[in-house]
């Protein structure tokens, strides 16, 4: 078992660059990467009744995103790196502290210049919670791709600009 590391994502292929960069910078690490996006629970009682995190994750993570994640998993298949995706369903810093305590997360890898988008109607960026927490934060930077033809396709992950 390695360390548990939280990585904020927005279900675009580009946001996975944080993971790619992290693993390139720490090639010998053993770690569990938890890719997290914020999600506001619906307010209506019927939607809450039928709310399922797994279904919501399936909806948010498109085909291309999932393929890109498996590429990363295959790349580090023998290095004891596990990658999981989860939604943070809380509202405030306290619930975020609970969230990271529950997962026993000690580190965070975040993008430096890339601005995370909000996925779906109820998504939100969890960067502010990460920055306010007492996690050990490492920032990773890459050239932000603007108007590259392969935007939002798997191949986007394959190239470093």
């Amino acid at each position: 078992m390695g360390e548990n590391i939280i990585v904020p994502i927005d279900f675009t292929v580009e946001s996975l660059f944080t993971v790619k960069k992290f693993l390139q910078h720490n090639p010998e690490t053993e770690c569990n990467l938890l890719l997290v996006h914020g999600y506001r629970m619906p307010l209506s009682i019927t939607e809450l009744l039928f709310f399922s995190k797994a279904a919501q994750l399936r909806k948010l993570a498109g085909n291309e995103f999932e393929e890109a994640v498996t590429i990363l998993k295959n790349k580090y298949a023998q290095k004891r790196v596990t990658i999981c995706i989860d939604l943070f369903l809380g509202y405030n810093q306290a619930s975020f502290q609970n969230f990271i305590a529950g997962y026993t997360i000690t580190q965070a890898a975040i993008p430096k210049s890339y601005r995370l988008k909000t996925a779906g109607g109820n998504g939100f960026d969890i960067m502010k919670f990460i920055k306010r927490s007492d996690l050990k934060i490492t920032e990773f930077d890459w050239t932000i791709s603007v108007g590259v033809p392969e935007k939002n396709h798997v191949s986007e992950l394959l190239f470093d600009l």
Binding site: N74, K75, Q78, P149, E150, H153, V154, S155, L158
Partner: protein
């Protein structure tokens, strides 16, 4: 048989079967019930009669009065009483009343018994009076039940007839309603011919099966239209492509033959002719290959191919063809396990396809750096080739797989427009996918997905 009539018949059969079962059940259960009820009444009468005739012979008048006052007379009601002794000749008694002996025996053994002869019903009981056994039998015609049953039967038959008529009308209406959209589609499709392939069916407002059918038709028409246009383009492009070198060969030969030339001039013109003929040959070869790799059902010999090795080989080949090219191979995301790198395929064909794609990338980016990268998902290998070349105009992106099609911004580059369709055919043979993302003047990314071969190490 028309489907409309089929629907009508089907509905009719189903409904009539149901109605028949339903009314048959009602008819039989009601008649059974009324028979049982009538036998009960007869038995009560038999008991009364026995009491009157055998027990209270002294004051029969009052009971008879009571009976005539409160019990209505049944049609043809008749009472029979005889004593049962071992000596009684049952057959004789039975023939007196005109009932079978078995009926009398039933009364003696069971205490009660029922018998029906035509419309006349018999009910008998065994009665004990003054230490003697008697058989008391009452018979009557079942006027009420027969009439009620007959009435019920008439009502049911009339109702069945009426409902058949009604069902007939209803099923005609239903079938017409079902068939109507099909007829609309048929009429619309009839209007579409090869001259007006751009016509499309209007989609119904509801999203039902017919909307689906119309959509499928529209999709098919889309494909038909594209392939028609491709065919037309192909013929015009192909004749143009073949015509150009032929024209220059003929023109060169014509000019050379117009007067006598020096030795050098002949050599020069023959060299030009040879060059043009070689170009023509190349085009014919490429076309032949394209036809061969197209789906013609011929089995290709497939073997284990390592994609990373393939990419390295392709780089060597391209270095020979375009010595000025700068190819950068990015194996950053190369999967760690080798079985994720093997596909089932024909190495020569895959090599050809990839060489064409990488060659295009080098050619149309004027030898700017081209990156080839590789990654493996759970069941696919993804090879991506990225260049920063001239790109493909958005509007022309849909035609790039047409043989001989060349984008409008490729005029100053040499080429025949066969490489990409050829590559796509090869990828298709390997059950793979090829996607091209491009933005004009920024560059193009070709993404090839090949299914993993499932070879263990």
């Amino acid at each position: 048989m028309k489907i409309q009539i089929k629907i009508v018949l089907l509905l009719l059969v189903v409904f009539i079967t149901f109605t028949l079962i339903f009314s048959g059940f009602i008819y039989f259960s009601i008649s059974q019930y009324s028979f049982a009820d009538f036998y009960k009444r007869l038995e009560i009468r038999a008991a009364t009669t026995a009491k009157v005739e055998l027990d209270y012979q002294k004051n029969t008048a009052s009971i008879k009065e009571l009976k005539s006052e409160y019990l209505e007379k049944l049609t043809n009601e008749q009472d029979y009483i005889f004593e049962i002794t071992p000596a009684t000749a049952l057959e004789k008694e039975a023939s007196n009343i005109k009932v079978p002996a078995s009926f009398i025996k039933e009364i003696i053994s069971n205490g009660t018994g029922n018998y029906q002869r035509g419309n006349t019903f018999f009910a008998g009981i065994k009665y004990k009076s003054d230490e003697k056994l008697y058989a008391v039998i009452v018979s009557a015609e079942n006027y009420y039940t027969t009439h009620h049953i007959a009435y019920l039967r008439n009502v049911l038959v009339t109702l069945i007839l009426v409902s058949v008529l009604f069902i007939l009308l209803a099923s005609f209406w239903v079938s017409k309603k079902i068939i109507k959209p099909i007829q609309q589609i048929t009429n619309k499709v009839k209007k579409i011919s090869s001259e007006n392939l751009s016509l499309r069916l209007s989609l119904p407002s509801q999203n039902d099966e017919f909307a689906n059918l119309a959509r499928t038709f529209n999709d098919m028409l889309d494909r038909l239209q594209t392939s028609f246009e491709t065919q037309n383009n192909f013929v015009s492009n192909a004749s143009h492509e073949f015509n150009t070198p032929l024209t220059s060969i003929i023109g060169q030969a014509d000019v050379t033959l117009s007067k006598s030339r020096t030795q050098e001039e002949y050599v020069e013109s023959l060299t030009i002719i040879l060059q043009e003929a070689e170009k023509l040959d190349k085009k014919v070869q490429a076309l032949l290959f394209l036809a061969q790799t197209g789906f013609n059902g011929k089995a290709q010999k497939f073997d284990k191919v390592r994609v990373d090795q393939l990419i390295l080989d392709v780089k060597l080949t391209i270095d020979k063809i375009y010595p000025a090219s700068k190819i950068h191979i990015d194996f950053n995301l190369l999967p760690e396990t080798p079985e994720k790198l093997k596909v089932k395929g024909n190495e020569q064909l895959l090599h050809l396809a990839l060489t064409n794609i990488v060659g295009n990338a080098c050619k149309y980016s004027r030898n700017q750096p081209v990156t080839i990268s590789l990654g493996a998902t759970a069941d696919k290998i993804i090879v991506a080739v990225k260049d920063n070349g001239i790109g493909i105009p958005d509007k022309e992106l849909q035609y790039i797989y047409d043989p001989f099609f060349r984008a409008s911004n490729t005029k100053q580059f040499e080429g025949y427009g066969i490489g990409l369709p050829l590559a796509r055919n090869i990828i298709k043979i390997h059950s793979g996918d090829i996607s091209i993302y491009s933005s004009h003047n920024q560059g193009t990314t070709v993404e090839i997905k090949l299914p993993l071969g499932n070879f263990s190490v």
